[in-house]
């Protein structure tokens, strides 16, 4: 393997048979290149998909009030159910085993202004736990905290796009904006993977909202996350228990499908994970297909190469080349070419993938990438199979008798 003379002989052969070298090298490089691009794009698709479905925390549960559809305990049907502050406490007290974070939501829409800029945004009144339920990412400043809630402060955390609309390049932190007719102090700016709509939200303390609305204690929704370690089964048990508890508390017929609704993404999550697995399979399948095509390509070229060299190999054997040295020469040559061109394909594949990465977000492909391990494994696979593909015709060529190879056509 490390015989200098043998390498020199191989380099000579390679450099004097450029077309042949190029053909076999090109197939391998192309195979690896396409593999990397396809695999990377597949991963990008998967990324988009995951972010699309996992905008909110994967373990979030949403509780919505609605209208009853059955009369119960003296109440008529069609009664509107409402959540109140005490419901939050009840959840905390009764479901501490399941509960991770908890927050109410009171959604309003209001015209919001700063200096001369004004626009209509949705204001979402929440408590600190909301940050984790919504997976809000803070860019600047801080989130709504417990003292904002307790003291009913007029503080606001604004979305990235709100900041962009109202403040342009100015830093919003510490400035005052008018929401409706009330002035709020901006304490933070956030971004959200859920998209532009999420980033046009403004978060304020829910107690402040209730204060502005004549000191009531009504809530729109209750959102929470359950402890992940409980898993899918735990999430379903939590949902059932919550539903039972609130139906009883709000006097709703246990058989009434309406009244309160619970959105539990645990089910969706499971489905979406299954979908992600299917995607992974498709990506792997496509990758494997490319690799197999590459291997078949090399095999064909090796058969062609060896056939073309039959006479030369016959001459070499007449001059004293042993069958072993013939096989070794062909193999070493093919493995050398596959290794170099595999590396070239790998290199260009990764470069192209990195450069197209940002341009494809509109086509649902986000951050396409291929991890180093996979790409190296693919290259090695191709080299190994290229070697095996070369071995078979090499072996056959080495066992052809020199007179047969030398016979004049």
């Amino acid at each position: 393997m490390f015989n200098r003379d043998r390498w020199r002989e191989i380099f000579e052969t390679i450099s004097k048979n450029k077309l042949r070298t190029f053909l076999s090298g090109f197939t391998v490089a192309l195979g690896i290149f396409i593999f990397i691009i396809l695999f990377g794009l597949g991963n990008g698709l998967k990324n988009t998909f995951q972010e699309f479905f996992l905008d909110d925390a994967g373990n979030a549960i949403f509780l919505y009030p609605g209208k009853t559809s059955k009369p119960y305990k003296g109440y008529k049907a069609n009664r509107r159910i409402e959540f109140k502050n005490e419901d939050l406490k009840d959840i905390e007290e009764n479901f501490s085993f399941f509960l991770e974070y908890l927050s109410p939501r009171i959604d309003r829409s209001a015209s919001t202004s700063y200096k001369n800029e004004s626009n209509s945004y949705s204001t979402r009144a929440i408590s600190p736990g909301h940050q984790y339920v919504e997976k809000t990412i803070l860019m600047k400043g801080r989130y709504i905290n417990q003292s904002d809630i307790n003291e009913k402060k007029k503080t606001a955390v604004i979305g990235r796009l709100v900041a962009k609309d109202l403040f342009k390049t100015e830093s919003p932190i510490g400035k005052y904006i008018n929401i409706g007719s009330t002035a709020f102090k901006v304490v933070g700016v956030f971004q959200d993977d859920g998209g532009d709509r999420e980033e046009r939200n403004i978060y304020i303390p829910f107690t402040t909202r209730q204060l502005i609305e004549k000191g009531n204690d009504k809530l729109n929704q209750i959102v929470m996350t359950y402890r992940k370690e409980l898993g899918h089964a735990g999430a379903m048990a939590f949902e059932t228990a919550l539903k039972k508890y609130f139906k009883e508390k709000k006097s709703i017929d246990p058989t009434d499908p309406n009244g309160i609704y619970i959105a539990n993404p645990a089910d969706d999550l499971k489905q979406s994970q299954q979908f992600a697995i299917v995607l992974q399979y498709i990506v792997s399948f496509v990758g494997l297909g490319t690799l197999i095509a590459g291997i078949i390509g090399i095999s064909n070229i090796m058969v062609f190469v060896v056939k073309e060299r039959t006479k030369e190999l016959g001459i070499r054997k007449a001059l004293g080349a042993t069958p072993k040295s013939v096989i070794q020469m062909i193999l070493q040559e093919s493995v050398f070419i596959t290794t170099i061109s595999g590396y070239v394909g790998l290199f260009f594949g990764v470069i192209v993938l990195e450069n197209i990465g940002l341009k494809l977000e509109d086509y649902f492909i986000k951050n396409p990438y291929i991890d180093l391990g996979t790409s190296i494994a693919a290259t090695i696979t191709l080299i190994v199979f290229g070697g095996i593909a070369g071995y078979i015709p090499a072996k056959r060529a080495s066992s052809i008798k020199p007179i047969v190879a030398l016979r004049d056509e």
Binding site: D5, K317, A318, L319, A321, T322, I403, L406
Partner: protein
């Protein structure tokens, strides 16, 4: 008893001994008996022409002597080494060590220069690159092609190609040179040039077998063996005609 001769009573060393050599080719169900019991001895330094009509088995015989093919039956002793139980690896090593080949169609490797072609047998002998090239250049010089060392076969005339092939066959310092119609693809003048070279190599002591159709070429050897239908019908010493007298 004469002085000095007691140890080498004969002064002649046997190079090739074949006894009762048979060879058949299977052709589907039937089989073609090509060599039907060939016997001869060739001593060191002989220059032997093998003649016979087309299909008489000349090439077959030469290929067996060259270990490019295997006889069905019979003994073959080359330089006191019995050649038997040959596998491909062993045959390759023997060829490299004992034999040089010259073919009618030259059989040079087309992408290698004259020098590289000549040094190839030395590569398979494991000679170092520098020595290999020096030695190859030396042999090219002997066949008068030193200035053509870097040329590819496609840039050489037929006679030049055959001289490169002879230099290549000589480079590994073989015991025996086997030439199958070395002048078959050449015109008369070039043929005589090649025969001149072969005669000179023979004068240096090399044992050479030449298969040929042409009587004038055969006359340039020292002995003619005639084959017909797989047996030797004539084996005679001849008065050698020097090729240089025509050139």
């Amino acid at each position: 008893m004469k002085k000095g001769l007691s140890l080498r009573p004969n002064n002649k060393v046997s190079m090739i001994q074949i006894k009762n050599l048979h060879k058949s080719y299977k052709m589907g169900a039937s089989s073609l008996h090509v060599l039907k019991g060939i016997n001869f001895n060739i001593e060191e330094g002989e220059l032997v022409a093998i003649m016979g009509s087309s299909g008489s088995g000349k090439s077959t015989l030469l290929n067996i002597l060259g270990m490019l093919d295997i006889a069905d039956e019979g003994d073959y002793i080359l330089d006191n080494v019995p050649i038997k139980n040959l596998n491909e690896t062993k045959a390759a090593k023997y060829r490299n060590k004992f034999l040089g080949f010259v073919f009618q169609s030259f059989n040079l490797i087309n992408y290698k220069s004259a020098l590289e072609n000549v040094s190839l047998p030395l590569y398979y002998q494991g000679v170092k690159r520098k020595e290999r090239q020096e030695s190859a250049l030396d042999y090219l010089d002997r066949v008068g092609l030193k200035d053509w060392a870097t040329h590819l076969p496609s840039e050489l005339s037929g006679g030049q190609k055959q001289r490169v092939a002879i230099a290549r066959a000589m480079a590994s310092k073989p015991k025996v040179l086997l030439a199958d119609e070395p002048t078959g693809a050449l015109d008369t003048t070039t043929s005589y040039e090649v025969m001149d070279l072969i005669q000179k190599i023979n004068e240096e002591g090399k044992t050479i077998l030449v298969v040929t159709h042409e009587p004038d070429i055969a006359q340039m050897c020292k002995r003619i063996v005639k084959l017909k239908d797989g047996v030797i019908i004539e084996d005679k010493k001849v008065k050698q005609v020097l090729a240089s007298s025509y050139v």
